[in-house]
Every structure is written in structure tokens, then in C-alpha cells.
């Protein structure tokens, strides 16, 4: 074996997978995992740990994998992370743990994400569950939202002995894990369901169909319903649109709508009732992970798919692995192009999109080169469906119904990074509701920090 290279991970063939929703990456088996684990140098002062937002003892669990003690490895990870099967799959490891790996200086870093995933999948297949804390402290905490931040915060608090109830607006818990990230990256019935069941087995209660701000308010939770503290992990689910002509035409969707129909409502399946229009040629506007997910979903539903992005490939915010997978499957990238208008037929349906070519100018405040329009370069793309994937912002429903809760000019809740404390007594927040749209693992890190903050607050009260 070449120690400079990762043990390759098995994947579904691009031609086959482009027509199904099965998971693309098949993961390691135990032999492959042990071989990859042997590449780890088990550094004393391991830099990878600092790259992980929840500071997993990476060499610690990898040592157990190498020796074949997978159950032990699972316990090591379990001390730090509530959702390893998810994070092993969707974390951008290339810019986190794996970026700091010493192995990566000369060759490829250790495949930490794939090893974490292997451990979590093995544990699920062998029925290993986390153990509930039998010592309850009699204090009640409400968690708003059952996405990665809420699940992590709830899990940690339950382990500390708190009586935790999660309130979820939709009919299924999981947040972006169930409505946003598609099956082919994150299987729902196996992976996501098991991770949520694990949190429930810690003693956490989940109430679905409860819209905080409408069904009840944070104020009522703290006064009438007897909760000692509240954690807000309501995410950033409000989609942005461009504000160009034709955007309300039939066949124009937010990526949130398209993905919710397909993932949560299973619209592509014949035995489910929610419909999704059939498309021949789709343009997805944007270049983030959500854009890749929407594009690859539309492709699997039988369409020719174009990603339209105003900067160049280097600036694509999506994970490198996802862009690579999208290209392998046949997604067409129309880079340095920006829509000006959606063309609509007499019945109100999309019939095309007028775009303009872009060039990269001087770097802007974010350090990225600013795209500028190339005069006279307009062209028309014949499409029948447009999916807007321009990012999301926090839903104002909670902040607008909670007096005394401070928000910033992006409508994000203001919370202390160290302990999640907000401007309102007893109310903590974390994840995308605070940072705006970010990553699953950062939300988990924030959920973890807030659990610690809530524990300190209630212990000193």
C-alpha cells in the first residue's frame, strides 16, 4: 500500500447512480477501515483535533479502529458528537480536521471523515445505542428546532440529566438533514432516523407540528409551561430570490421548495401524494452545496441540468467532492454567467432564461474577485425549470414574537459564541439561527457549547 494515499472508498458508478437516489459513496468495510487507520501517525499533539468544531479525540478513536475495537471507537466519538454518521458524510473535512493532518503535508491526509462514518455505520448495524443517564436533575429545557444544533444540544443536556423536549415545526424531526440534504448523500430511513432515535434513547422527547411563535411562544414556554431554559436552534430556512422579472412564473422554485418536495415529501416516489413537476431542462442558480444537491436531484428525476454561477470554478462555495460528483454525473456548469430575466410563455410557464456573461474584477471585502457584467454578452438559455439556490436567512418568526431577543441587521439572533447566551434571560441560541447558513458540524458545535452554557446557567441559578 502507498502510505501517501488514502485507501480509496468504493462508490456507485456515475452512470448508474445518475438514475437512482441510492447513496453515492459506499463507505469502507472493516479491512479498508483498519488499513486506513494504520496510516494515522497518532500524533501526541494532534493538530486534527483543533480542526474539528466539536474537538473529537481523533487519534483516540482511530487507534481503536486500527486494533479492530469498533465499539470502543464508537464510545470515544460518542463523548464528543451526537451525529457521527451524519458528520462523517457531510462535513467539509478538507477545510477542517483533514486540512490539519500531518500526513497531508507530503501526501493525502488520513480519511478521518470516512473512518468516523465507518464507525457510526458499524455501530448502527450492530445495534449499539448510547446509554441514557439514569440520574435526572429535575430541570426542564425546551429546544426549538430538531436540526443538527437542536439535536446535539438536546442530546448533551439529556446526558447531563436534564428533562429535554424538542419542538419541531415540520412533521418529521431532523431539520436540513431530512428536508435539505438528499438521500444520495445522506440516507434518511437508515442513517438519519437512527441518529434521531439515538437522541430519543437518551430520554429526549420530540414534539412535531409545533410552530414556536404561532402554536406557542418562548415567553409561554418559560412562564406557563415551566421550562427553566430555552435553546433556539431554528436554523436559517428563509429562501432568497433574485428579484428579477419572471421569478414568480410557474416552474421557478427555491431550492428549499424543490428539495423539500423531493426529500421530505418524497415527491419522486409514486406511492407518496406530493407532486413535483417533471422537467426537461433545468437551470440551478448558485454554486453552493445546496445548488449541487438541487442539481443532482433534478438530474435523477430525468432532466438535463445546468449550474449557472456568476463567478468561476475556483470560487464555487460547494465542497470539492460534491462538484466532482456532480460533474461525473453529467451536470453542465455554465460559469461566469448571471440571469437577468426569466422568460415566460403565455400560460405563465418558464420558457427560457436571459443571462449575461460575467468577468472577474477586483477582489471585494470578502476577498473574492467581484464578478462584473460583460457588456453586450447577453444570451438565452432554453430551460423549462429554474431553481434558485442563492442562500437562506433566518426566519423572523421567532425573533419577532420574542420581546427582548436581540437580532442583528441580517435578522440573525445575537448570541455569545462561548455559551450561546442571548440578550434574553434563560434563552440560548446557536447554529444557523445565529450565524446565518453555515455547516452541519458548526451547528453541532454551537449546540454543544450552548448545552454547556445552559448547564452552567442553571447550576448557578
Amino acid at each position: 500500500m502507498d502510505v501517501l494515499k488514502k485507501v480509496p472508498v468504493r462508490e456507485q458508478d456515475p452512470k448508474v447512480r445518475a438514475a437512482n437516489f441510492e447513496e453515492v459513496c459506499l463507505g469502507y468495510n472493516i479491512e479498508e477501515a483498519r488499513e486506513e487507520a494504520s496510516r494515522c501517525l497518532k500524533c501526541k499533539n494532534a493538530k486534527c483535533i483543533a480542526g474539528c468544531p466539536v474537538s473529537i479525540d481523533i487519534p483516540g478513536f482511530i487507534r481503536e479502529v486500527e486494533e479492530g475495537n469498533i465499539e470502543e471507537a464508537s464510545k470515544v466519538i460518542g463523548k464528543y458528537s451526537a451525529l457521527p454518521a451524519v458528520c462523517g458524510r457531510v462535513c467539509p473535512q478538507e477545510s477542517q480536521c483533514e486540512e490539519r493532518c500531518i500526513r497531508g503535508i507530503k501526501g493525502e491526509p488520513v480519511s478521518i471523515g470516512k473512518l468516523e462514518r465507518f464507525v457510526a455505520d458499524w455501530s448502527r448495524e450492530h445495534g449499539i445505542k448510547p446509554e441514557a443517564n439514569p440520574n435526572k436533575n429535575g430541570k426542564k429545557v425546551a429546544v426549538i428546532g430538531s436540526g443538527p444544533a437542536g439535536l446535539t444540544c438536546a442530546g448533551d443536556l439529556a446526558k447531563m440529566g436534564y428533562d429535554v423536549t424538542i419542538f419541531e415545526a415540520l412533521h418529521e424531526p431532523g431539520g436540513v438533514l431530512v428536508y435539505g440534504i438528499p438521500e444520495f448523500r445522506l440516507p434518511k430511513d437508515t442513517v438519519v432516523k437512527t441518529e434521531i432515535d439515538n437522541v430519543i434513547s437518551l430520554g429526549v422527547k420530540i414534539e412535531t407540528n409545533v410552530v414556536i411563535g404561532k402554536s406557542t411562544t418562548i415567553e409561554e414556554l418559560l412562564t406557563e409551561e415551566g421550562f427553566d431554559a430555552v435553546f433556539i436552534g431554528s436554523g436559517a430556512g428563509l429562501p432568497k430570490f433574485m428579484g428579477i422579472p419572471g421569478e414568480n412564473a410557474n416552474g421557478v422554485f427555491s431550492a428549499n421548495e424543490y428539495l423539500t418536495r423531493s426529500n421530505l415529501m418524497k415527491a419522486s416516489r409514486d406511492d407518496y401524494d406530493t407532486p413535483l413537476i417533471a422537467s426537461n431542462k433545468v437551470a440551478v442558480i448558485g454554486g453552493g452545496n445546496v445548488a449541487m444537491d438541487a442539481a443532482r436531484t433534478a438530474l435523477r428525476l430525468g432532466a438535463e441540468v445546468h449550474i449557472v454561477y456568476r463567478r468561476s470554478e475556483e470560487e464555487l462555495p460547494a465542497r470539492v467532492e460534491e462538484v466532482h460528483h456532480a460533474k461525473e454525473e453529467g451536470i453542465i456548469f455554465d460559469l461566469l454567467a448571471n440571469p437577468k430575466e426569466i422568460l415566460v410563455d403565455e400560460n405563465g410557464w418558464v420558457k427560457g432564461m436571459r443571462c449575461i456573461k460575467m468577468a472577474l474584477g477586483e477582489p471585494d471585502e470578502s476577498g473574492r474577485r467581484r464578478p462584473v457584467e460583460v457588456e453586450g454578452s447577453e444570451f438565452t438559455l432554453d430551460v423549462d425549470t429554474v431553481i434558485m439556490s442563492l442562500g437562506t436567512s433566518p426566519n423572523p418568526l421567532i425573533s419577532s414574537t420574542t420581546p427582548g431577543l436581540e437580532t442583528n441587521r441580517w435578522k440573525c439572533i445575537v448570541a455569545d459564541e462561548e455559551n450561546g447566551m442571548t440578550s434574553k434571560e434563560g434563552v440560548f441560541a446557536g447554529g444557523d439561527a445565529v450565524t446565518g447558513a453555515a455547516t452541519v458540524i458548526l451547528a453541532m458545535g454551537a449546540g454543544k457549547a450552548a448545552a454547556k452554557g445552559i448547564d452552567e446557567y442553571l447550576s448557578n441559578k
Partner: protein
Amino acid sequence: MFKILKKEYLADNIILMDIEAPKVAKSCYPGQFVIVKTDEKGERIPLTICDYDREAGSVTIVFQTLGSSTQKMAAYNEGDSFRDFSGPLGCKSELCTESREELQKKKILFVAGGVGTAPVYPQVKWMKENGYDVDCVIGARNKDLIILEDAMKEYAKNVYVATDDGSYGFKGNVNDKIKDLVQNEGKEYNLVIAIGPVIMMKFVSLLTKELGIPTIVSMNPIMVDGTGMCGACRLTVGGEVKFACVDGPEFDGHLVNFDESIKRQQMYKSEEGRAILKQREGDTHKNGGCGCGGDE
């Protein structure tokens, strides 16, 4: 699970149900809606709240069997349960938030079209219970489609029924009746609240604009989540894009782009048609057809 406490046919294909949903019943107001999902595989269907009983913990919904999902709902009976019942969603009617002083100045005509009579009812009831008299026009194609007339009469000062074919009450559509009230009977109104099919709300708004009467309509676009996370329900009001589920569902009828909304409502028409066919014909729908395999 949310138990069906009562099921009653108001007309041939219009059904009223009382649902056990204490959390919704405790916090809902006229003008708001709920989302119902029958079972694991069902879709999320928005329905305006028609009545509620805070003490009994129940919420009343009224729906018309139009597509496959409402037909599926109609097959449920008393004692059965819906898997999901989420709400209250959307903003409460402005009437519930205005001061007494403002409300006293209002001379309101409610205009209810067909199954839209159901969401008008709690608003009329709310006004009466707070001490205000209002008038109401109920319109439908024919006598058999008029619903909740007696219930409405309990709370509205005057209830006028209009049928297109003249089989009951005034002969003509709701607009004909509004004109009759204002021009022939000398009635004075300074607010119209119209709820019914979009096409009706459009034409009522056109008429009241001519008559100079401010008008509120309750929009019913396609929805998925109903909490503001997808924009399926977006519409244009006064040139701005709004999400009906969080910004509405009630809007100024003189500012709504109705034509755009009507087109957006048609988006899944063929998909809905396919779903109904599938339900009626069962397995024969897929495997049968004309044999050309075009629908595979």
C-alpha cells in the same frame, strides 16, 4: 395523531370536521390556517380555520373534495385520526388586532364564495361576540352548494344569499348582489372582506375599487411547509413579493396580482389529474393505458 371528533357533510362534496388539537385550539384566531397531513405518505394541505373551541381543545375545518388528497381526507371518519395537524399558521385577521375605536368606525360587508363561507364564519362570529354588527353575502353556483347559512345568521345582522342560477335567494353572482345592496338598497360599507375562489376575489376587488371600498381578501395559493421556508406560496402584492403563509394569507385586494396567482394555482393541474386517475383506477392506471407505454 389528531382525532376526528365530528364529521358532517355540509353539501355533496363539502365536509366539516372537528379535530382534536388542543395546542392549535388554544392559540388560534380567525384568519389563520392549519396544515393537515392524512398519513405518512400524504401531502401537506393548507386549510383555513373555520371555528375553534378552546375549552374542548378542538378546531373545525371545512374542505371541498377537489383533488386526490381531499378525497383521501374525505374517506376518514369520526374516531379516525390524521397523522399531522400543524398550526395555527399565518397572521390573524386584522379585526382581531384593531382597537375598539377603529372597529366601531367599520361598516363591514363580508363576501363568501362557496367553500370560502367557512373561513368567513369565524370572523363574523368574532365580530358579533365583540359587539359589532356586520352583513354577509353568501354566493354559490346553486342552492345545493350554499353552506353554513343558518350558522352565519346567528352572528351576522343581515345574511344575503345569491345563486348564479337563481335556485335560491338572489339570482346572480356575489358582485351583482354587492351592487344591488349599495346601489338599490342604499347600504353603506367602508370595508369588504371577500373570501372564496381566487377568480371571485379578483372580480369583487375590481368592483369594490370602482365603488371606492377598501377590500381584504384571503389568498389560497399552493403551499408546502406553511412556515415561510420555501416560497411555494409566493404572490405579488403592490409590486412586492410576499409569502402568503407568513405575510398573509389576508392581503389588500386592490394590490394583489390575481392573474399571476391564478396561473400559479394551475401549476400541478396535470399532476393532480394523474393522481385522481390513479386513485380511481388503482393499478390499472399504470399498467393499462393505451399500451404505448408513453406514461412509463
